[in-house]
């Protein structure tokens, strides 16, 4: 689903954010991307989102080399990818429902269809009763879940998350990961950047470790364990 071939990214200031990164995320696979702050996790996600372009190497998403994607095609490409941001990126001049409906509105869904999907997404994250509220009045965990609902509302094939548990207490963080696993189970490929090693270590998912822009470890668990300790 996502393939990096010798991808390097150097920012205009000269900072080498990614250095010769190679990996492949299969269709329906779920992986964590970890490493210290500044290791290049966010840059890697930004390259997939086409918020940045690689200087070297190629990135193939869903069979397409996105390095050659012209600028005007980028919005259509982004609609296939759901993203959960650490700072949620919500709009506080509209209510929860309108925040989640935004991707559908952009894509031009008929109103009744959009309504059905938004309610389904809000139901999934447990916020169905709060659709009329302003996100500013909700807690950090709830804001996070609005962001997740918005990321999945148009049923993307790929879900990216940048430090989704960064501001959450352990219990909420675990709930968020459980939610992600549910999406993964229905076939969504997932790449989650997180430095929360204690949380990741409990889960038996593939872990990609970045250090100074280099991919230094790729620990793959082929099977999800049914009980702890079976690996």
């Amino acid at each position: 689903m996502i393939r990096f071939d010798n991808v390097s990214k150097r920012y205009p200031g000269g900072h080498q954010a990614l250095n010769q990164v190679n990996f492949e995320l299969g269709d329906g696979e779920m992986a964590f991307l970890t490493g210290r702050s500044g290791a290049g996790k966010s840059t890697l996600l930004k390259l997939i989102m086409l918020m940045e372009r690689a200087n070297q190497g190629q990135i193939v998403v869903n069979g397409k080399n996105i390095g050659r994607l012209p600028r005007q095609q980028v919005p259509f490409y982004r609609r296939r990818i759901g993203v959960v941001f650490q700072d949620h990126q919500l709009l506080f001049d509209r209510n929860v429902y309108e925040n989640v409906a935004l991707p559908l509105q952009i894509e031009g869904y008929p109103r009744h269809e959009a309504q059905r999907r938004v309610r389904a997404a809000l139901d999934k994250v447990g916020l169905l009763g709060k659709e009329k509220m302003n996100p500013m009045l909700l807690s950090g965990g709830e804001q996070q879940r609005i962001g997740i609902a918005r990321a999945v509302v148009n049923r993307p094939q790929i879900l990216l998350a940048d430090e989704p548990t960064g501001n959450l207490d352990p219990e909420l963080a675990a709930e968020t990961i459980t939610l992600f696993e549910q999406f993964n189970r229905i076939g969504v490929s997932m790449l989650i950047a997180s430095h929360d090693l204690s949380l990741i270590a409990q889960l038996r998912h593939r872990i990609l470790t970045l250090d100074n822009g280099k991919l230094i470890r790729d620990a793959t668990f082929h099977m999800k364990p049914t009980r702890p300790g079976t690996h």
Binding site: M49, G108, E113, G187
Partner: protein, 323 residues
């Protein structure tokens, strides 16, 4: 080119946007955006009114100038009907020669009418209008020459060539174009017309700048929203749309206010100008923009608003990218 094509490989996603529903919702989106951008403007009435007032003033000046020019040229055309050439005949020209000359003139295609005033008639008129009849009576002879009043068939512009030809005719001692000032007025109006066209351009530019700057501020204040919309796949067109509608509303509101102000101005001037013109024997009534003129003003101001927003959007929107 892959564009919104549904991915058939994955079952995780079913395509819900058909062409028909896509067009419908696009139209719906235009309506929604037009409505919501208008609502946003009305939500901040003070700053909106300030901007609209500036636009209206910038539109009012050239429009008022245009209306003034329009009235003046209509007025001068009215005067054109009265432009006549006066031929002062030789003293020794008899009645018979005079009527021969009169017929000769009438035969010309560039002359509409000829009126002969004999020296005797002239003296009578002079006595009547000047009140100096007694002075004439003191003289032995009537000193006034015979006069032919020639009305040219064509406009004032061609009268001067006719004037030259008539002056050369036998029996004519002097040919004089009456109301030569009308020709000067016409030229003056033409010059002023050019100047007002140039002014119109300048003021149109001012409107563009005002709207462009207002939209720039609006873009800046909605930076976060633009970033989010771009992140979840909003096209440049989608992001630009609310700003273009905002520009359109500003332009239209400015045009409407300018029209309103102009109408009030003309209403206030109507009676005084009519009285003034009546003194000059003119039936001219002050005329405004009319329906067509108002339509042009509104369409033009709307277009200017849209264009100003478009330029601003082109300049500033691409600079805002999620990072």
């Amino acid at each position: 080119m892959k564009k919104r094509s549904p991915d058939t490989r994955s079952g995780a996603r079913t395509q819900q946007v058909t062409l028909k529903s896509g067009l419908q919702s696009r139209w719906q989106n235009h309506l929604d955006v037009a409505g919501s951008s208008l609502k946003k403007l009305l939500a901040a009435p003070f700053s909106t009114v300030m901007t609209v007032a500036v636009i209206a003033i910038a539109l009012l000046l050239p429009t008022a100038l245009f209306v003034a020019m329009d009235n003046l040229s209509a007025l001068s055309e009215g005067f054109g009907r009265f432009s006549r050439i006066t031929l002062y005949l030789e003293d020794n020209l008899g009645e018979r020669d005079s009527s021969a000359l009169s017929e000769q003139l009438l035969a010309r295609s560039d002359i509409a009418a000829v009126e002969y005033i004999s020296p005797a008639q002239g003296a009578e008129e002079f006595a009547r209008y000047s009140g100096l009849g007694d002075v004439l009576a003191l003289l032995d002879d009537n000193p006034l020459p015979g006069v032919m009043l020639v009305t040219p068939a064509d406009s004032v512009a061609q009268s001067s060539t006719l004037l030259g030809e008539l002056a050369g005719l036998e029996g004519v001692s002097l040919a004089q174009l009456d109301l030569q000032w009308i020709e000067r007025l016409r030229l003056l109006l033409e010059t002023a017309g050019r100047a007002s066209a140039a002014l119109m351009l300048v003021f149109a530019l001012a409107v563009l700048l005002v709207i462009g700057n207002t939209i720039r501020l609006a873009i800046e204040s909605r930076r976060a929203e633009i970033v989010v919309v771009k992140l979840v796949g909003g096209t440049d067109g989608y992001v630009a749309r609310p700003f273009l509608y905002t520009g359109l509303w500003y332009g239209l509101a400015g045009g409407l206010l300018a029209w309103l102000a102009l109408t009030l101005l003309l209403w206030a001037l109507y009676t005084p100008t009519r009285e003034l013109l009546a003194l000059y024997d003119s039936q001219h009534e002050l005329r405004g923009l009319g329906v067509a003129g108002a339509a042009v003003l509104l369409a033009g101001s709307g277009l200017l608003g849209w264009l100003g927003a478009f330029i601003s959007v082109r300049q500033h929107l691409s600079a805002i990218e999620p990072s």
